[in-house]
Symmetry: D5
Subunit: 96 residues, 10 copies
């Protein structure tokens, strides 16, 4: 089941750089692991913003929440969630 998720990151401007670096590194590892597992299907940068557009393929709403709320940057993110489904004009049964 697909969801579009838009995440905007707002790190405090006075955050300890070492802490920021570590948070981003852990975030990246988790993002890549979830991509390899096929859960985080797409991940794009919004040009000009510290933000991304993502497509998640999850079992249900609960799994989506578990994943997002465990991201290391979750406390610093503004998140928008949109439930998606197949579009009748799509040429793909399962649009990947």
């Amino acid at each position: 089941m697909l969801f579009q998720v838009e995440m905007t990151v707002r790190l405090p401007v006075d955050m300890d750089p070492a802490k920021a670096t570590q948070l981003k590194q852990t975030e990246k590892e988790m993002a890549q692991r979830l991509q390899h597992e096929g859960i985080w299907r797409h991940l794009w940068r919004m040009a000009g913003h510290y933000a991304n557009v993502s497509i998640f393929d999850v079992r249900d709403n609960a799994q989506l929440h578990d994943i997002l709320s465990q991201l290391p940057l979750f406390p610093y993110m503004q998140i928008e969630v949109t439930a998606l489904c197949r579009h009748p004009s799509s040429i793909h049964e399962d649009d990947r």
Copy 2:
């Protein structure tokens, strides 16, 4: 070059049903042709809305505009355009 495009359709409630049907049919054909050409990469329905989330892969801004403005439903759409690029945490060189 990728763009996220969100289209919300607002047909007049008193539109002639035959005209609406034809507009939608032509829209669908054009959407499917552009998908086959690899330009309209993804097309998802937003659950509960007469709206879609789409990913376009175009040569430049001009091609994006030409395509969107020639859609039969363009005069009835509210459109939001977001320029995308590769995310440093993406595992794909070219996220399709």
Copy 3:
């Protein structure tokens, strides 16, 4: 899987009263059938508004979209969809 759906109805002020009455009657029958089936779990009126707050229990996003888009008043509604899941402080395994 649960979704909160807020629907605000905006009928044209010059709609034929007979048509309005019939739309509302069909809408009511469909709403009651879906409640009996356990899909439309809750349905409340927002005081002072021609609007409702509803909780749907559906299989997935696609089923939610199919149900909402087939409501007779769908073309006249502004709809907001929020994906819900179990709250860790809830005393219910499945909050009905």
Copy 4:
């Protein structure tokens, strides 16, 4: 008398973790006690957000305010209140 309450929690990112843990624990105990008493009828997590959708069944506006303003996380919450009543299409006399 029913109210829909949407609560979004914004803890300061530099809050002392021990204090945060204790606030959340006290909040949880209070939420569960109010659920057992039938006052906090429903409590759902919004997927992807540190936020909940709740339904309260209270005697009057004053009781609603007393409960919400005594929640330990109240100073950190953004709250929206919507007065609800029976919907004419509901199949329940008292929609629980």
Copy 5:
């Protein structure tokens, strides 16, 4: 139980003047009857707007909805409802 209700009226600019006059006359009679009954406690005009600020004293949310939705101008109104209660700094037990 008190509610603040803000009503903004938007009559179609091409409404038949006779119909508009009658709607307003019926609205006025209903508003005055409800004031005499002590339900519509206060009614003020917002300066410069075809709008009012009102205070209602009702039994519960349902009564508030019944009253508002039966106003002749209800289909032409944008309405905002705010649940009120006693303020701890008020010098009145029951602020009328």
Copy 6:
């Protein structure tokens, strides 16, 4: 001359409790004195919010500003001011 004033208080979450207590106490005394003088006609709590709806009866705009800007909590408030006047459907010459 009447004004509706909506005040939302946002105290810093780390404010010294003794200072907060004293500010609120002075605010309360001033609010009660102005009520006794007939200037602060009505004062209601918005249920679920650290906010109030008030009706002021002042000589002119200048007096309204002097009163509001001298409230101890003024620096912590977001304020909205709406000029009111007699409503033609009111049954009161001077709606108190």
Copy 7:
């Protein structure tokens, strides 16, 4: 007593031109009469908009409402009202 009033005019695009001309002519005459009387102190066009910024000097809120609601273009206007008073840094006792 001074008020800043911003008026934005939205005439229906299909309004009968003769009616529009007459409305504007009557509006102009009323605006000029009120300026000569010293009530409509200032009247400026917002560059690029069918809108104005005005300063009114009225006895009270009621007079402001009477004047605005009797303007011929009132039914076609979106209006914002802001109560003004003397600024402590102004060099004028009565800023005209």
Copy 8:
């Protein structure tokens, strides 16, 4: 050339009072000097707000920017700028 400028001041609640007093004093002197020079034509307080509505008469956009950006409170202000011109219904050639 006239501009309407709306300035809202947001001083940090923990600003050193001596610094605040000095900033406001310097701001006041600059505001009064500009009024005497005929550049800051009007200056009104918005009732209930730490904000003003001002009319500036400047040579061009650049002069407007130079003046505003040199105000001592500029770093603490939210500013809105509206370009004004003569209104065809104004009775003044140069509305002062």
Copy 9:
């Protein structure tokens, strides 16, 4: 003196096509004449929108208003005006 102007065109969906064509043709001629005169310095299409971003070089606010309000599509446009001036980091004395 430079202004950024953003124009969004909203033609009624049922406008007579011949009228629309003529309006657009006259609009184009006027836009091109003003470009040749150096007044309408830049004119870009916003990709995906029936809208443009423009830079005008005018004598004063009045000339800007005269030009914009005489555009054939003015009654169908939503317009935003931003006063511009030289940026201290610009390498151009007069950024064309």
Copy 10:
């Protein structure tokens, strides 16, 4: 390929002045270098704001993101990006 970029800078009011000066100096050098390279085509100050309107001419979305995200003031900016293309009424093949 052209983009309109609006940048609003919000430096913390308590930022170390030496750090602020250095950030702005580096920002200026980078902005001027990019202007000389023809990438940052236009750069204007918004009158009355610590903000600019810019036109970028870049190879693609990725280059735009790389440039913006490497600006020294990027962490302190709110940015809006709009994709531009040639306007059919422009008299320039490549509007510079």
